[in-house]
């Protein structure tokens, strides 16, 4: 064991070996995993107490994470990162990998987000899924997700990260398809998995290049050696990592699965498809800063992808009438902001994570609010059938409203502190870039204000457009309390974390520091312009969706609206370019395999065996004649051998 630990120490040389509570960090993964295993293996026997057990496991993970964080605060900044070796995982020839955990400032931030928001959503689900006959399975999958997500962020190597990466993908697949008796939901689950696999292709290739270049795939090993590699190699690694990130984080061009993923129960949309899993791509890019910082071309592509996606999501969000799909488009757009910031390097990376955390709170809160609305409205999702719900659902209205103010970036709510900083960072640089990316981010903020206000007003204000059979009512406390907690976070977290730059200083040892570069526009100018655009967006939405009558059937709309409603034709493109040619290829190959390949080889066999008529006679169905043939064959072979001898 001593040799193992010294090896581990050499690998994780940047981080000290874990001591104290940090050496129990494996519990973070083990506890929810245990919950999932007990519920899945225990079967019906656990139906009664299973959901509570799973929720307890999630909270237990939060407690462990909290203690790890407290002990980390107690150490000086350069001694905060710790490394924990678990076991010898893959010793294969010249590839030798330990399974280990890297507990540093970045991973702990994620651990707290995932376990806290995750546990709240477990609690909410107790109410939301109360009458579902399969709720035990639901909680098992939620626990599986939490375990995988924590493995993803705690892994000390790209390969172990990959295990968590696909683990969350599996949980996402299982939960999107949780109600897969509806074939459309089953298709949505498949789509999510397959599109993610396209991203995983990129992640796989990135890991291969790393191994061939550096001989190791641990974060510590790669970061040490990255300086020695050529820029072309690092660019290749960076682009492949980005492909993986695009799949997981629904970034252009792999964004098409997220909207359909709303087929999953709403707590899933809140936890997996808004607050945590979809942000894993941002984590990957920030964690790989040592590669991207040395590959400016790859960084530029990251920024471009982020900029395209933030506009793409925002435009789509303006046209959706399904409350969950509108929120999904918004998630895509907000992650676009994070991706853009992550691509800016140290100047933006800390804000990418900052926005990721605040977004985790306000977006999860709004999704839970949407779930609460659906709960009170017979599971309807069409916002054209909502309206004036502020009276019937006061708690939902207030908590959702705080999330709405946060995402708009209205000071002093959370989103202001994180998003405004990203816009500022996007304006930093030379030449055309700050103008293009900065203005994109700023305009995006205006569009965000429009479509989020549209959503908020259509749902909670204006006139009632309810169908006759609904009787809106507030949800039970088990659901509203998590919403209240998240609303407090939406309101205050940004302010608390940015007092004196607490959060950015906290992350500095991981993401690196940067000099005081000032944006091409003065900061107050950027802030004021952004807020003006936001006010404009709110005003426009107010006129059209609060003051004016909202038709219950969507008008045809302009060409742009139609395009946005169809997600800018993303599915049509994928179908035309990949799916239909793929189906044709598969069909013709099946035909050819049955006729062509088989026929050619069969023909040869017939030649070898003599004429086909003799072949037919051989197939007479009598076992004895086969035995005889075999015997004759064996004798002939031996005779041949003897002759040669």
């Amino acid at each position: 064991m001593t040799s193992l630990s010294t090896l581990a120490a050499a690998e994780g040389s940047a981080a000290a070996a874990a001591t104290g509570i940090t050496s129990a960090a494996w519990l973070l993964v083990a506890l929810p995993l245990l919950g999932a295993a007990v519920l899945l293996l225990g079967g019906r026997a656990t139906d009664k107490w299973g959901p509570l057990f799973a929720t307890a496991m999630s909270w237990a993970a939060f407690v462990v994470g909290f203690l790890v964080w407290i002990s980390m605060i107690g150490r000086p900044a350069d001694g905060r990162a710790m490394h924990l070796t678990l076991f010898e995982w893959i010793p294969a020839g010249s590839f030798n990998l330990q399974a280990g955990m890297l507990v540093d400032q970045l991973s702990v931030a994620f651990v707290l987000l995932v376990t806290f928001v995750g546990s709240l959503i477990h609690v909410y689900s107790i109410g939301y899924m109360e009458h579902d006959p399969d709720k035990r399975r639901f909680f098992a999958y939620l626990n599986l997700f939490v375990a995988s997500m924590l493995l993803l962020v705690l892994a000390d190597s790209y390969l172990l990260l990959y295990v968590g990466w696909e683990g969350v993908g599996l949980a996402s697949y299982l939960l999107i398809g949780f109600w897969n008796h509806n074939p459309a939901y089953a298709t949505a689950a498949n789509k999510a998995f397959v599109v993610n696999r396209v991203g995983d292709f990129g992640l796989s290739v990135a890991i291969m290049i790393m191994f061939v270049t550096f001989g190791t795939v641990t974060f510590a090993g790669v970061s040490q050696a990255a300086g020695g590699a050529s820029e072309a190699t690092l660019t290749a690694i960076g682009l492949m990592l980005l492909l993986g990130a695009c799949g997981k984080s629904a970034q252009f061009p792999l964004q098409s699965w997220l909207g359909d993923a709303m087929a999953g129960p709403t707590p899933v949309s809140a936890l997996i498809h808004a607050a945590t899993m979809v942000t894993a791509g941002v984590y990957l890019v920030v964690r790989s800063g040592f590669i991207f910082n040395a590959a400016p071309d790859a960084q530029l592509v990251v920024v471009i992808v982020g900029a395209i996606t933030l506009l793409f999501g925002a435009i789509v969000g303006c046209a959706k009438d399904d409350i969950k799909k509108a929120l999904a488009a918004s998630t895509m757009s907000q992650i676009g902001y994070m991706m853009l910031a992550a691509g800016l390097g140290p100047v933006g990376a800390a804000f990418a994570i900052f926005h990721l955390i605040t977004h985790g709170f306000f977006k999860a809160g709004m999704f839970l609010g949407a779930g609460s609305v659906m709960h009170g409205m017979n599971d309807q999702v069409d916002m054209r059938r909502f309206g004036a719900l502020s009276g019937a659902m006061k708690i939902t209205w207030v908590t959702f409203g705080l999330g709405w103010l946060a995402i708009l970036g209205v000071p002093p709510f959370s989103g202001f502190w994180s998003k405004d900083k990203i816009i500022e960072a996007a304006f930093v640089g030379e030449g055309w870039r700050p103008w293009v990316f900065g203005l994109t981010a700023m305009i995006g903020a205006g569009i965000t204000a429009f479509y989020m206000s549209r959503l908020f007003f259509m749902t909670f204000h204006g006139k009632k457009r309810w169908t006759d059979d609904v009787h809106p009512h507030e949800s039970p406390l088990v659901m509203t309390v998590p919403m209240m907690v998240l609303a407090v976070g939406s309101a205050l977290l940004g302010l608390v974390l940015s007092i004196g730059g607490t959060f950015t200083h906290w992350l500095e040892p991981v993401v690196g520091s940067h000099g005081e570069e000032s944006p091409v526009l003065a900061v107050p100018v950027i802030t004021v312009l952004t807020l003006l655009l936001v006010a404009g967006g709110i005003g426009l939405a107010w006129m059209r969706y609060w003051r004016d009558e909202v038709p219950v059937v969507a008008p045809t709309g302009s060409l742009a609206t139609q395009a946005a409603r169809r997600d800018l034709y993303q599915d049509d493109v994928n179908e035309g370019v990949f799916m239909r040619p793929g189906i044709h290829l598969t069909r013709s190959l099946v035909f050819a395999d049955n006729r062509g390949v088989d026929g050619a080889v069969g023909g040869m066999a017939a030649m070898v065996g003599g004429t086909s008529s003799r072949l037919r006679r051989v197939q007479n169905g009598f076992a004895r004649s086969y035995a005889l043939t075999m015997l004759a064959g064996v004798v002939a072979i031996f005779a041949l051998v003897w002759v040669i001898q």
């Binding site: 690998e11 897969n180 498949n190 998995f193 090993g221 598969t586 051998v641």
Partner: protein, 509 residues
């Protein structure tokens, strides 16, 4: 107990069991399966005992060796021995045999002599499976290699489905064609060896100085037989027919164990005996392997028969295995040999769960299912896990081996590795589309009520799923056995791993 003939004992035990089963009087015929299960179980226990004698740190290539003269006039010995790879293959066969016998429990409902013979044939097959991996004499290997065909032929031809005769003859023709070509190579090889009473020993035939053309011809003769067996594109077409017509237990032994003789042979004979020719043929083999990966996957996507679909996934997986073997790196080799083990359990789980569903539905056609997750939730869960192992989900065993293959291949052949990596996308498609079509959707209206898995079926599936999970998170015990075998083979070929282009400063790997 080092001198105890472990390998002969575990190889012969099933044969003795087969003789007992075969000789059972008609009145006791219904005991046949119990005896068969007991014998294969005992064989497994002895195999584990033998494995405990194995020292993975040993310098010699083979351990547990036994050697006796057999036909000294032309150099044939009865020589048995195992390296880490052969041992792992034998353990896999010994684990799968009792599982398959248990899975085949109700395969011959009419009972009587037919049932008795069925289980006797399975035991005979187990003997040959162990023998073929343990033989360290090229001729003895060849005898086992061909003898295996006999029980499989009867298992398919007499006990299979509607088109069993067609499938059995096709299987036999392909295999015999491969075998005959190889026989020429075997005989020719002896001519270049040192001769003598033990001239067919693998150790005597390693490192020979053979003229270039002769070596290449012999390589091709051996490789052809192994490619048919593996099976690789374009000589794969016997497999889907055999797999769908055979009883599921037979299909498992056929695809899970017998086909491994092909890739095992490539390592033991092609690489070890013909190193120069192997290097010469590598570009072609790599291309064929990559085609197999993608072709098998695309064909699997297009299937409507669930058993054929699983067979085509194996064509794809064997493409990966061959790719890793001919990448000739320690990583690729470790990946391939580990894949040979993992694929055995993964495919067994897929075939057997699918067969349990087919037995309930009475059809192998995928469109005849739909919504079965609501009918048989337990089997659906097992099917999903087996399927996820098939698409190499991290955390399940195939992932480690598939990724090592790609990693090892990328060290030498970047384009081939990247193209093969696209196979992971296709794998997601063929597994998830199958699962969607069979398991999801509204609950079907069934004429008769269908029960979820029973205790026997749980006993069949549980060990396989346990193996998928354990080897996924902790493959070290298997890798510790396989690594020395791989590096030994590569040292015979005379290649060493490419060094990283940029080493980490001061950080040891």
């Amino acid at each position: 107990m080092t001198n105890f003939p472990w390998l002969t004992t575990i190889a012969l035990l099933p044969l003795v069991g087969a003789a007992i089963v075969f000789a059972l009087p008609a009145g006791l015929a219904d005991r046949a399966k119990h005896i068969a299960l007991g014998v294969s179980g005992l064989t497994l226990v002895l195999t584990i005992a033998a494995a405990l004698q194995f020292d993975s740190g040993s310098k010699a290539q083979f351990q547990l060796v036994e050697q006796h003269e057999w036909i000294p006039q032309f150099g044939v010995s009865y020589a048995m021995g195992v390296d880490g790879l052969a041992l792992v293959m034998i353990i896999m066969a010994a684990i799968l045999a009792p599982i398959c016998i248990l899975a085949a429990w109700d395969d011959v409902p009419e009972g009587g002599k037919r049932e008795k013979n069925y289980f006797a044939l399975m035991l005979v097959l187990e003997t040959f499976m162990i023998g073929v991996f343990a033989a360290t004499d090229v001729f003895l290997f060849y005898v086992f290699f061909e003898a295996m065909l006999i029980p499989v032929y009867f298992l398919i031809g007499s006990y299979g489905g509607a088109r069993r005769q067609y499938a059995a003859v096709k299987f036999l023709l392909y295999s015999l064609a491969g075998g005959l070509v190889m026989l020429v190579g075997v005989i020719a090889l002896y001519q270049y060896g040192p001769g003598g009473a033990d001239g067919f020993l693998v150790t005597k035939l390693t490192g020979l100085d053979i003229p270039v053309v002769a070596e290449r011809l012999m390589f091709v003769a051996f490789f052809f037989a192994f490619a048919v067996k593996a099976p690789m594109w374009p000589v794969h077409t016997w497999l889907p027919d055999a797999a769908t017509e055979a009883r599921p237990a037979t299909a498992v032994l056929l695809v899970g164990v017998l086909d491994k003789v092909g890739t095992f042979g490539m390592i033991r004979f092609c690489l070890q005996l013909f190193p120069e020719a192997s290097k010469w043929a590598t570009p072609v083999v790599i291309v064929l392997a990559v085609i197999s990966v993608l072709y098998g996957a695309l064909l699997a996507i297009g299937q409507t028969d669930v058993m054929r679909l699983i067979a085509y996934t194996s064509v794809s997986h064997f493409g990966f295995i061959v790719l890793g073997i001919f990448a000739m790196t320690t990583v690729g080799g470790a990946g391939s040999t580990l894949y040979m083990l993992n694929h055995g359990f993964g495919t067994a789980a897929l075939f057997l769960v699918a067969a349990m569903l087919v037995a309930r539905r009475g059809s192998k056609r995928i469109p005849d299912f739909g919504g079965w997750q609501r009918v048989t939730p337990g089997l659906a869960g097992a099917f999903l896990i087996a399927g996820l192992a098939g698409l190499a989900l991290p955390g399940l065993s195939s992932f480690v081996s598939e990724f090592l293959v790609l990693l090892g291949t990328f060290q030498r052949y970047k384009a081939a590795a990247v193209i093969a990596t696209a196979g992971i996308i296709l794998a997601a498609l063929y597994i998830l589309l199958m699962y969607k079509r069979m398991m999801t959707g509204p609950k079907p209206e069934l004429v008769e009520p269908v029960r979820d898995w029973n205790v026997r079926e749980k006993l069949v599936i549980a060990p396989l799923i346990a193996a998928l999970l354990v080897l996924g998170f902790y493959p070290k015990p298997a890798l510790d056995l396989l690594n020395p075998a791989v590096s030994k083979t590569l040292s015979y070929v005379g290649v060493s791993d490419p060094a990283p282009t940029t080493a980490a400063d001061g950080s040891a790997k």
